[in-house]
Point group: C2
Chain length 346, copies 2
């Protein structure tokens, strides 16, 4: 590693839930950083972040801040990416963008390294990181698609509040405390901060993540539908999603129904296809009540799969349960993996 | 009402979560009770319940306790029903059983009054009340089946802890307080009290409700599958279920996918079919963020439906979201409705 090339790396949105995890992940794998450029809004500029035991000053995210930057990981919301990603690219950086700004742009590869690492080569300066709930699902789907073919996906999600950022985590804590004390909860963040109405998430379930589209699906649901087809290079794949926000802090869970191509596939075939895959941990031993949960998956980078069952009526239908930490594999870890794959090809 | 026949009514399991709600519901609709017989385990015998402002002594649930009883509502677990339901019937009572003991018995009607009230006439002394998660789903499905035909159902549930009784409600409270204080939660009730392993439910999601069957489905999932077909008299209906316990106290929610018979049905057709149906409230106005949630449905007897969408790939496919109070329409209220329908025919 002594002779390995080192990079100037910017992290945009470094004070946010995902930005913090990106620093943690880069530290953990000892990413070859020459200089770290922690960037955030004007409000946070001048404060410090700690990286590898040293304090590094946060600078304001503006075009000039990208001078000399070779890899820029964006995670500060779609509008910041739309304003600054091209500025970073113009200054010579490759952008790994963890917002929805460019994901469906046909000139931008949308990458989950376990699924379509080779798409990184098609980048024109920007590589998009998919939506959290999409990532964990396609990691589980890809080995099944490869082995058995895949023609249909119906998913219902169980998503944690950290997907809406640190303010939503605090809102769940505050509301939970209030309700346990018999008081009325106050809601101002969830389901969508910018929307008119807010509902309590504590001891509740909200069937709205992101805003509604004209077709009655939410934007989160459409992300899962469109991104899955793009990442898997299967535009004709039938995908349907229902996305629900729930009162837990970290990790998303998903109840997934799939139809494979053949009628002669067994539960054991599916288990074998998922076992020992990179990035996947099979936790499917019902005799011993082994299955993944949000709490058991928190803080881990893998995608956990359990509860694999064969549909009782449709011979090529299967059901399973997928859980992963939405801030890690769903965001920070996948972005850092993309950066790793990029420098391997550099 | 002055000349209406009055009945000797026993409530078995009167100290439990559902038993308490049965008393509330009977009081609320002024059920014609001549004498209330509150029954429970030996441990609770001698204590009192309050009914219509008066204290009534709880007696031990044993065969002789049913002497003179005309209607017996059982909600004390399957083993109590298996021991005592026939004893009650032998003594002249009609039993309305809210356990899984007799639901799939072909000589026992399984009744949701909005769907198959007429099946009450086929009873041989016992009428079964379906599982909570089944009831709310079939109430929403029946008007759609009648109008458009129905050939497929895939449901993922979001179920509250009160479905596991008062002890599970207390466990969620205790664990939530502990975790908010940074302490380790203790688990001894959920997912299934009698099972070897218990997992925290607070700020978590458990993909196990009831024990596992040989086919890898849980008993709760098989209840939804088998009971739906029986109630709707459609044994060939394709039904699949994934049941998940979540950290809220009351009401179950369900993400339901259906396929109707025709390809020319619209969202508006479904909304119209559900609007103004007895027992159903359509809460589906996405422009104003209107959809049901567990908190908004708590304490109400109706079944709430929202988030109706057309599948984007399958022309006869639709998705929607159903919420209802599991202790009311899912248990106590449906049992009391059966009792009402029974005395109307009496």
């Amino acid at each position: 590693m002594a002779n390995q090339k080192q990079y100037d790396v910017a992290v945009v949105g470094v004070t946010g839930a995902v930005g913090q995890k990106i620093l943690e992940m880069m530290e953990e794998i000892d990413f070859p950083i020459k200089q770290l450029h922690p960037l955030a809004s004007k409000r946070s500029a001048g404060k410090n972040v700690v990286f590898k035991g040293e304090e590094v000053e946060i600078k304001e995210a503006k075009p000039e801040a990208f001078e000399g930057v070779e890899i820029a990981l964006f995670s500060a919301g779609g509008s910041v990416s739309r304003q600054l990603a091209h500025e970073a690219v113009e200054r010579g950086a490759v952008v790994i963008d963890n917002t929805s700004a460019f994901r469906m742009d046909e000139n931008v590869p949308l990458v989950v390294p376990e699924v379509n690492k080779e798409d990184i080569n098609e980048n024109n300066g920007i590589i998009a990181n998919p939506n959290c709930s999409t990532i964990q699902m396609v990691v589980a789907l890809e080995p099944l698609r490869e082995k058995f073919g895949l023609n249909r996906v119906i998913v219902s999600t169980y998503q944690s509040v950290s997907g809406s950022g640190n303010a939503a985590v605090e809102e769940l804590k505050d509301q939970s405390r209030k309700m346990l004390d018999g008081q009325e909860p106050e809601a101002s963040i969830l389901p969508v901060k910018s929307e008119e109405k807010h509902y309590p998430i504590a001891f509740n379930a909200l069937p709205q993540i992101d805003v509604f589209e004209d077709n009655h699906y939410t934007f989160e649901e459409m992300k899962m539908i469109n991104e899955t087809k793009k990442i898997m290079h299967q535009p004709e794949l039938k995908v349907a999603a229902t996305c629900v926000r729930l009162p837990f802090f970290y990790s998303h869970a998903e109840s997934v129904y799939i139809e494979v191509d053949g009628d002669d596939v067994s539960i054991e075939n599916l288990q074998d296809a998922l076992r020992d895959q990179p990035g996947i941990v099979l936790e499917d031993d019902i005799a011993n009540q082994v299955y993944p949960t949000p709490l058991s998956s928190e803080g881990k980078t893998d995608v956990f799969v359990g509860r694999i069952r064969k549909d009782l009526d449709v011979p090529n239908g299967f059901h399973f349960w997928v859980v992963s930490d939405n801030l890690l594999k769903g965001a920070a870890w996948n972005s850092v993996q993309i950066a790793q794959a990029f420098i391997q090809q550099d």
